[in-house]
Symmetry: C2
């Protein structure tokens, strides 16, 4: 087996705007973590070798394994998507080794059917790693709320289907631009306004009409101005959850923390689903560690 | 009867960003039209009297009747919404007369139910005017595509229900900002890509997922990069039309011209609807003229 299989290593979750570097023991335990804003958008392709050298100065001259947008066409070097269904062994087989650097980049997963296309990079490691670590069953439904929320279905430890929704991005767009700009700056928390929005969009919902209705609801005094942000958040999250069929009685494994996890939990439970909260970092690290073992 | 009932007059469609001024005969025929960008956003409330004076310098010292955002809280003087159901007589009764100016501002229409709120300003005059002019039946379904598309239902010549969808605004937002920015700049025309988008979203459609799918479809080669704008337009228009129940066999009175009218016609016919195209300016002017008659 290669020497690096049993060495300590460096794991990187290298996303679009942020990056999380983990110094790992050879057994897969975290020694130290650093999070910064040196995401893919802050880098040019030619910057990466020097960046890796800086990381090794700090954490030691160890093998690096990275996942996320670093492997996209906008990143360092493309690690082409593997089509679903995919498991950790599939990801390991398709991993890209950067010559002379001892850096491995994990590919993303793609989905292509007659009617739709979807892609993910980084989230697949969290989901499959959570399963590998025994945090979630091999057959499950996962949600990863954020700018681009992923709903992921697994069967037998393989990602068989997934859908990306632009829920977080749309909230940011309508909050920052257009006719709702300046109206959604109030606090977004769980409460009456959020639940009103959830229930408005939990079933069949014409989201583009419901969003215009935020303005009309304030103009006509249906909701208070300071509640408009929470109401709009409820509409968008309600619509997101509402698009998942058969939620009643379903368990959703939620790879998220903080406020978003809280709001999605309220929305999922309102539709009769159950939530199991998972640590997305633990999932990510378990996934990368398993991929390293497959590579040995 | 007041002297101005039988005088020539000035009709103004005074919107958010644009304004259309019509010099009218006393019988309601157009003498001259001027369109400019002196919309509500370009004006302060104190600018209006001088603006009206300038308009009268050009078109004569005549009564003015105006509709649109000029009557909103962001305009000159608020003409409070009248609740649906509303007809032209309702609008006339609630019109705001600006003291000493011989200017009449027509109110908008509001809708408030247990679950939703909506408002319109200006579009109600087009719809009810089209009916008054015999261009459309008293019981009908109207669409007014644009930044904020209105779907309006009338019964017995009254607006009984309506829905505003942010279809055009959302297209502009995702085209200009966020992950799709720069991907949707190709030509938007009727063609294979537009119809592919239409059909993707013509039934139950999770719009926020379908929009992310634009990027994935380009990345995976499902659609060509230059077709992404037309495809995204098809998604949004398909979703907009898809939210209208019972479209099959329904006649839609389309108050729109140019490319948008063409694209909506394709989408409505794809769902089994029929389209009657109406001249929105003719509807607007017939509506204002009828309101003048009610005011006499």
């Amino acid at each position: 087996m290669p020497a690096d299989t049993y060495s300590a290593y460096i794991a990187i979750d290298w996303g679009t705007t942020n990056r999380r570097i983990y110094s790992m023991t050879r057994g897969g335990a975290v020694i130290e973590t650093v999070r910064d804003d040196r995401g893919v958008l802050a880098m040019r392709p030619e910057d990466y070798p020097a960046e890796i050298a800086r990381i090794r100065e700090r954490f030691g001259d160890r093998p690096v394994i990275a996942a996320g947008m670093v492997g996209s066409t906008r990143g360092w070097q493309e690690a082409a998507y593997v089509p679903a269904p995919a498991d950790l062994a599939t990801l390991a087989r398709a991993a890209t080794r950067i010559g002379g650097q001892d850096v491995t980049i994990v590919p993303g997963v793609s989905l292509l059917t007659d009617v739709r296309a979807d892609v993910m990079r980084g989230e697949e490691v969290q989901v499959l790693g959570a399963i590998a670590a025994g945090l979630a069953p091999a057959d499950g439904l996962f949600a990863q709320p954020g700018t681009h929320n992923k709903w992921v279905r697994t069967e037998g430890g393989r990602i068989t289907d997934f859908t990306t929704t632009m829920t977080g991005e749309l909230f940011a767009l309508v909050k920052g631009h257009g006719i709702l700009a300046g109206m959604l700056d109030g606090p977004v928390t769980d409460g009456t306004a959020f639940r009103d929005g959830l229930s408005r969009c939990s079933g069949a919902c014409d989201l583009t009409a419901a969003l215009f209705g935020v303005r009309a609801s304030v103009l006509l005094g249906r909701i208070a101005a300071q509640d408009a942000g929470a109401y709009a958040s409820g509409l968008l999250i309600g619509n997101d959850i509402g698009a998942v069929p058969d939620m009643d009685g379903t368990t959703v494994h939620l790879l998220s923390g903080g406020l978003l996890a809280e709001l999605y939990t309220v929305g999922i439970e309102a539709r009769g689903g159950r939530v199991v909260s998972l640590d997305s970092h633990a999932g990510f690290l378990a996934g990368l560690h398993a991929i390293r073992e497959y590579l040995s």
